[in-house]
């Protein structure tokens, strides 16, 4: 953690800054509001951990997020609620068109979910604790919630797989770096190249985003709401969104046995790992398949070479397959092929589309508008890959409670999920959805999406077809993780 605290650190929930890696125990509580007044007063005094609190080691941390349903049940004025993002208001499962875009169809459809299929629960409490501290705290919290107007609809347990996710890969290796101190102005020359330092307005409402603009959020008449900060872009109004973020939660069940058995069956048990690594796009250790470059990348710390790379020199996907999971999740492209090294004439020619070579290389551009901060936690039993391949391995019932934070659900989370992960046409491909998360359903006219290809050095693709689904969505929702002042205001 860098030394200088962001401005208003005591107003931002700590999850924006930290994944609480030392707090290895966690539970997520999905709550319904039974009694508005009691729920408001409990939330009003809830000891939410802020970024400022991170100056000292915390043995526990509490984060609070509210869904659109929750805002209504808390009695927030309809006009205020309606000023939040349309996708937040509609909810993750609230619209079939959205479900289609997210790939939440077939066995991933909301009708099959354990929770959230008919709408978000009202409130999401995220409890993090150091080893041995969660159980007692959680149980007293649940009791208190029951006495203060809440029903605990469901408890999402997590387990500590150290830094691995259930398939056995080091997770959370690559994250955007939030530009807390406005060190860069987005849209400049440097953005022609890939960069990892991203405007804080991409994650927190109330600040300028990558377009240099302010994402819509509820702004209230200034005089009525002294408790809230003023809006930066419209100082006569109070900003209910400021220092808040949208939180996306998805319960993803991972078929660890199916994944490793498939890899072993296709590649043999010794080469299974390298096939799995090609599908993921990183080694199990988290090291990239691409050799890191020497030149620095803005926003990639010097001590993390595992993120100092782009796919520019691997445009065909001979080193990292075009359809590999991490290449989809972040294609690491700048605003223009060729980057900032080229002269003005070359840039103009590219802008006008006169470079024939760009037809393929310019399909996916401007990654900086589609970044998310991932904060997920694993659940279930950890099984090493060798054990998972064995026929007598019991089902570890494991997966990921995927969590991400962003300022514009539609342009960030939904775009990544739709255009990059789920699309069978990502990067100019034909019939490959994400090798890990794809739902494998054919397109309406019958075209397959359940393939994956690996290029040999001579250019021939080694094709894998009829890959089974390894990940199933079992729940999900959109929440708002408010700033502390906003939370107090909403519950006063």
């Amino acid at each position: 953690m860098s030394a200088a605290l962001p401005a208003e650190a005591d107003d931002v929930q700590a999850l924006l800054r930290s994944g609480f890696v030392r707090l290895v125990e966690a539970a997520f509580l999905l709550l319904q509001i039974r009694d508005q007044a009691a729920a408001r007063s409990w939330l009003h005094q809830a000891p939410v951990t802020t970024i400022a609190d991170l100056r000292e080691y915390q043995t526990t941390a509490l984060q609070v997020a509210v869904s659109a349903n929750g805002l209504k049940k808390l009695g927030v004025a309809a006009s205020t609620v309606e000023a939040f993002a349309p996708e937040f208001l509609s909810g993750m499962a609230g619209d079939e068109a959205r479900s289609r875009r997210l790939g939440d169809v077939g066995s991933n459809a909301p009708s099959e979910w354990r929770w959230g299929g008919t709408g978000e629960p009202d409130v999401l409490l995220l409890l993090y604790a150091e080893e041995g501290r969660l159980a007692a705290w959680k149980s007293s919290t649940v009791t208190a919630l029951g006495q203060n107007g809440f029903d605990v609809a469901m408890e999402l347990a997590t387990s500590n797989m150290h830094d691995k996710e259930p398939f056995g890969f080091t997770d959370g290796v690559s994250q955007p770096q939030i530009d807390w101190h406005d060190a860069r102005k987005p849209g400049g020359d440097a953005d022609l190249d890939y960069g990892n330092l991203i405007s804080k307005g991409e994650f927190l409402l109330g600040y300028a985003n990558e377009y240099g603009q302010y994402t819509d959020r509820p702004l209230l008449p200034g005089n009525a709401t002294e408790a809230l900060p003023r809006a930066e872009d419209r100082t006569e109004l109070s900003d209910l969104g400021r220092n808040g973020a949208y939180l996306v939660l998805r319960e993803l069940h991972q078929d660890v046995r199916g994944f490793w058995r498939y890899a072993a069956e296709q590649a043999g048990s010794t080469a299974a790992t390298s096939l799995a690594e090609a599908m993921v796009g990183r080694h199990t250790s988290g090291e990239p398949l691409i050799t890191p470059q020497r030149a620095p990348i803005r926003g990639v710390p010097p001590n993390s070479p595992q993120n100092r790379f782009t796919y520019d020199a691997d445009s065909e996907g001979k080193i990292c397959p075009l359809g590999a999971h991490v290449r989809r999740a972040n294609p690491r492209t700048g605003d223009m092929p060729g980057g900032s090294r080229q002269g003005l004439v070359a840039r103009l020619l590219r802008t006008l589309g006169f470079k024939r070579t760009d037809l393929r290389s310019d399909i996916i551009a401007s990654s900086r508008f589609h970044r998310i901060m991932r904060r997920g936690r694993e659940f279930g039993t950890w099984v090493p890959s060798e054990a998972a391949m064995r026929p007598d391995c019991p089902d570890p019932q494991s997966g990921l409670h995927f969590i991400c934070l962003n300022g514009n659900i539609s342009r960030q989370f939904e775009f990544v999920q739709n255009a990059w992960l789920t699309s069978a046409k990502f990067n100019g491909l034909f019939d490959e959805s994400d090798p890990l998360t794809g739902n494998r359903l054919p397109l309406p006219a019958g075209h397959a999406t359940d393939c994956f290809s690996l290029l040999e050095q001579n250019g021939v693709a080694r094709r894998f077809q009829r890959i089974p689904a390894f990940v199933t969505v079992r729940g999900g929702g959109y929440f708002f993780l408010p700033g502390v002042r906003a939370l107090r205001f909403l519950t006063q």
Partner: protein
């Protein structure tokens, strides 16, 4: 060379029949947003020259915006438009429709004012609307060629799947093998798309530019005056970009994102006055030239996801229709627009009422992300019936298939070229 053409037939709907018409149009779909390509009214799939087609009801929900200019458009028609893109001449396509489905088309347009009589072809000709500008992703590539190239790609993939020990062989050797397989299968290879003589265009531009310089110099005071006029307008024109209602968003999105491509239909008013209209006419002229001679193989500037697009004036140039066929979801389409061709959008659409504020006709505008997205969503009208002859294939896929076929037909290749070619398969 068979250039593609575009057709569009439009007539004002008799408002009392609009409900019936919607039901009738819905009957051409298996489900909302999913056309039945063999439907009883107009079985699109039976027309092997037809790339894309749609029936769209142009009900303009943004007429109220005219009030910002102190004007209105009372009794503005609600149009029914039937439009599409085909190989060969548009009139031939209309004739084929009239010959094979004349009665059915008459039944559809019977819901309009001045309904068609017995001579449906003459009626369609009378109600044809010529586009102000149009875009074709790949000039001269026919539906037949697209289908043959797709089949060729499948065939080559199957061949590779049957060929042993591929990884250890040289790319050229594998290519020779594939060339032989194709010859043995005697699969009729599509003819290559003849290249247009684009260089002629550039020579013409160069020749035209020489006398243009003194003329421009002579008229520079006039140009400065026009620029000043433009800036005055850009500073004062009202921006109208409220967030569209959830109901409106739902009405359009429920029809989208079934296949890999979507239709987009947007309708709105041109800013009143001669200045904006002339600007628009000039821009369309330039656009039409560029899409005829420059952007003819795979891309419109940096955007490679549009199959066909058109801009058409309606109501004596008071309103404008934009209709396109694009890959991906609307949100990614709009992001592509902002990040790659905001300048191009501004050139056209800043002459439409309510567009986000531009400067010098190319800056700003679509660069205001949320205002732009609100504007587009708000002007989008649901496309009741939409057909694309090659579902499941994106423009990028089509370009790859063409490249594969061209590579197969090339006489010579180096090992490196053969490797890149194999990688496409």
């Amino acid at each position: 060379m068979t250039p593609q053409s575009t057709f569009m037939v439009a007539a004002p709907i008799r408002l009392t029949l609009e409900g019936q018409l919607r039901v009738l149009l819905d009957s051409m779909n298996k489900a909302p947003g999913r056309v039945d390509a063999d439907n009883a009214l107009l079985p699109f799939a039976h027309y092997d020259r037809l790339h894309v087609a749609r029936f769209v009801i142009l009900r303009d929900e943004t007429l109220g915006d005219l009030a910002a200019y102190g004007t209105s458009f009372p009794n503005a028609p609600v149009w029914l438009a039937f439009l599409g893109d085909c190989d060969g001449a548009a009139d031939d396509m209309l004739r084929e429709f009239a010959d094979t489905a004349g009665a059915e088309i008459r039944r559809i347009f019977a819901h309009c004012e001045d309904p068609p009589g017995t001579d449906i072809l003459a009626w369609m000709r009378r109600h044809s609307v010529q586009p102000a500008a149009q875009y074709v992703n790949w000039r001269g590539r026919t539906v037949q060629q697209i289908k043959q190239e797709a089949a060729l790609h499948d065939f080559l993939r199957d061949c590779l799947g049957r060929t042993p020990a591929l990884a250890s062989r040289r790319a050229l050797e594998i290519r020779d093998h594939l060339v032989g397989e194709v010859a043995r299968a005697r699969s009729a290879l599509p003819a290559p798309t003849p290249r247009q003589r684009v260089w002629l265009f550039w020579v013409a531009i160069g020749l035209a530019a020489v006398p243009l310089v003194p003329i421009l110099l002579m008229f520079s005071p006039v140009l400065l005056l026009l620029l000043w006029q433009l800036r005055v307008r850009e500073r004062n024109d009202p921006v109208i970009t409220p967030r569209p209602s959830a109901a409106h968003l739902g009405a359009t999105s429920r029809l989208e994102d079934y296949d890999v491509s979507n239709p987009f239909s947007a309708f709105g008013s041109v800013k009143p006055g001669r200045f904006r209209l002339c600007t628009l006419l000039l821009v369309f002229r330039a656009l039409e030239l560029s899409t005829r001679f420059i952007y003819i193989r795979g891309r419109l500037a940096r955007v490679g996801t549009i199959h066909f697009a058109r801009w058409a004036f309606m109501d004596d140039r008071r309103r404008l229709l934009f209709a396109s066929n694009y890959d991906g979801s609307l949100d990614s389409y709009m992001d592509d627009f902002i990040n790659k061709v905001a300048f191009g959008l501004n050139l056209v659409f800043s002459n439409g009422i309510g567009w986000p504020r531009t400067s010098f006709l190319i800056f700003g505008g679509a660069g205001y992300e949320q205002e732009f997205k609100n504007y587009l969503h708000r002007h989008e009208v649901p496309t009741q019936v939409w057909y694309k002859a090659y579902p499941g294939l994106t423009a990028s896929n089509l370009a790859t298939n063409t490249e594969i076929r061209e590579g197969l037909q090339r006489k010579h290749m180096t090992e490196a070229q053969a490797q890149r070619w194999l990688a496409l398969i």
